[in-house]
């Protein structure tokens, strides 16, 4: 097993794999590519070009960007807009994103897309695929908490505790799966009403799913909506809430 880490996607991405050095370098190069396509910081990224010109003309994008946008829009539909990659400032929503043939993207009105809530998970999935293609039998890719593990053995996953992110505690085990965690500053009404302790100090939502892009997007939706058993079933996912006192909760009902 080798472990390598690089600053990418605005966070620290670490890769652990039973693979040659070149395989890990290839996985990092894949993540770097996603970063360059979907960053809002570079003017020539697909996302920046859509944001600058998409309301005036169709913008042709890389197949990866198209895949992320398709997943984002379908996640928006599934969550009634709780997950939305358009920044709401101009009153725009996911319904203003038109995905056309020939990998072209058009916006019905001026809008700012930000794929921050889904591109990291997508990059993790691609990096895992790259490692496997290079012959890696087991390993993990972790982009600042959006992570995916592969291999025969189960791997233990810890979460940072909301309220004190320097503390971590084991939450679940994963085998060929992914998870992502999202913090939230709002107390859940249902739990507050029942007098659960410590929730006002914050909690985090962790979603476990088959791939990291779905886990990444679902955490955002669940942090906003609360537990959604139907939504989780639909994506074959599980969710956990962890409060600052280190108590884990699961969706009931």
């Amino acid at each position: 097993m080798i472990s390598r880490a690089r600053p990418l996607l605005g966070t620290i991405v670490s890769i652990r794999a039973g693979a040659p050095e070149q395989a890990v370098a290839h996985a990092f190069a894949t993540i770097e590519r996603v970063h360059h396509l979907m960053s809002t910081h570079a003017d020539d990224s697909d996302v920046s070009r859509i944001n600058a010109r998409g309301h005036r003309q169709a913008v042709r994008v890389h197949p990866w960007t198209m895949r992320v946008l398709r997943a984002a829009v379908s996640m928006s539909r599934a969550t009634g807009g709780a997950f939305d990659v358009t920044l709401g400032a101009q009153g725009a929503s996911y319904a203003d994103i038109l995905l056309l043939t020939g990998r072209r993207v058009r916006l019905k009105r001026r809008a700012s897309l930000d794929l921050g809530g889904i591109a990291k998970g997508f990059a993790v999935d691609l990096a895992v695929a790259a490692l496997k293609r290079c012959g890696a039998g087991a390993g993990s890719v972790n982009a600042g908490g959006d992570l995916r593990v592969f291999g025969k053995a189960s791997q233990s996953i810890s979460v940072r505790l909301p309220g004190d992110s320097s503390l971590t505690a084991p939450l679940l085990t994963l085998r060929n799966g992914a998870c992502a965690t999202s913090g939230s500053y709002f107390g859940s009404r249902q739990i507050d009403a029942r007098g659960r302790r410590a929730l006002c100090r914050g909690y985090s939502v962790t979603v476990q799913a088959r791939n990291c892009m779905v886990a990444d997007a679902l955490t955002k939706a669940l942090a906003a909506l609360g537990p959604q058993p139907d939504l989780l079933r639909r994506f074959n996912a599980r969710a956990y809430l962890v409060d600052a006192a280190g108590t884990a909760y699961a969706p009931g009902g």
Binding site: R6, G10, P162, L167, T168, A250, G253
Partner: protein, 179 residues
């Protein structure tokens, strides 16, 4: 069928949170090889940080431990200069990150590799005695690590400190190491 909104129901109290995570990713030699795979020799070319060039370097001030010297190595192949590797440390909220920056002879960054990552609870990250354990480390004398950071989800770590460090090192490289 119930129309009641679903609730979060208690599952378990997570066992004993741990507070120290650390991983050594690369030794000095491994970092050199990763950033300049084609090099056949590395020569230490530390840069003395006198107050004068320090003031000339614009951009963010160092967030890492203050040094009088910037660690740097010249990478060569057959005597020809390929570029430099600079090793730096940055301190975040509760993490200390040692990273290496590779810069080509043309002044363009080749890549950043994190050599070591260590985080801890409380203020010890800012304690010089705690940081001292990182100094003068060479391959063959690995740190004893409390726990490998593996598979930790949540609270996205920012790489802002590294980004700031890299621009500072690039400025230093242009001032002191480009002929």
């Amino acid at each position: 069928m119930s129309t009641r909104a679903p609730l979060w129901v208690p599952l378990a109290v997570l066992c004993a949170p741990t507070s120290v995570q650390a991983t050594q990713y690369l030794t000095l030699e491994q970092a050199q090889k990763a950033l300049f795979p084609e090099a056949d020799a590395f020569a230490a070319t530390p840069v003395r940080l006198t107050p004068e060039p320090r003031a000339r370097i614009k951009g963010p001030q160092p967030t890492g431990p203050r040094r009088d010297e910037q660690r740097a190595w010249a990478a060569t192949r057959g005597g020809a200069l390929l570029g430099h590797m600079l090793v730096d440390e940055v301190i975040g909220k509760h993490e200390l990150i040692t990273y290496a920056l590779g810069v080509g002879a043309d002044g363009v960054a080749r890549g950043v590799e994190i050599m070591e990552y260590r985080e801890s609870r409380g203020g010890e990250v800012r304690d010089p005695r705690w940081r001292a354990q990182f100094k003068g480390k060479r391959s063959g004398t690995p740190l004893r690590l409390d726990q490998d950071i593996q598979n930790i989800s949540g609270a996205t770590l920012s790489c802002r400190h590294i980004t700031e460090g890299v621009s500072r090192l690039l400025a230093l490289h242009a001032t002191a190491l480009m002929k």
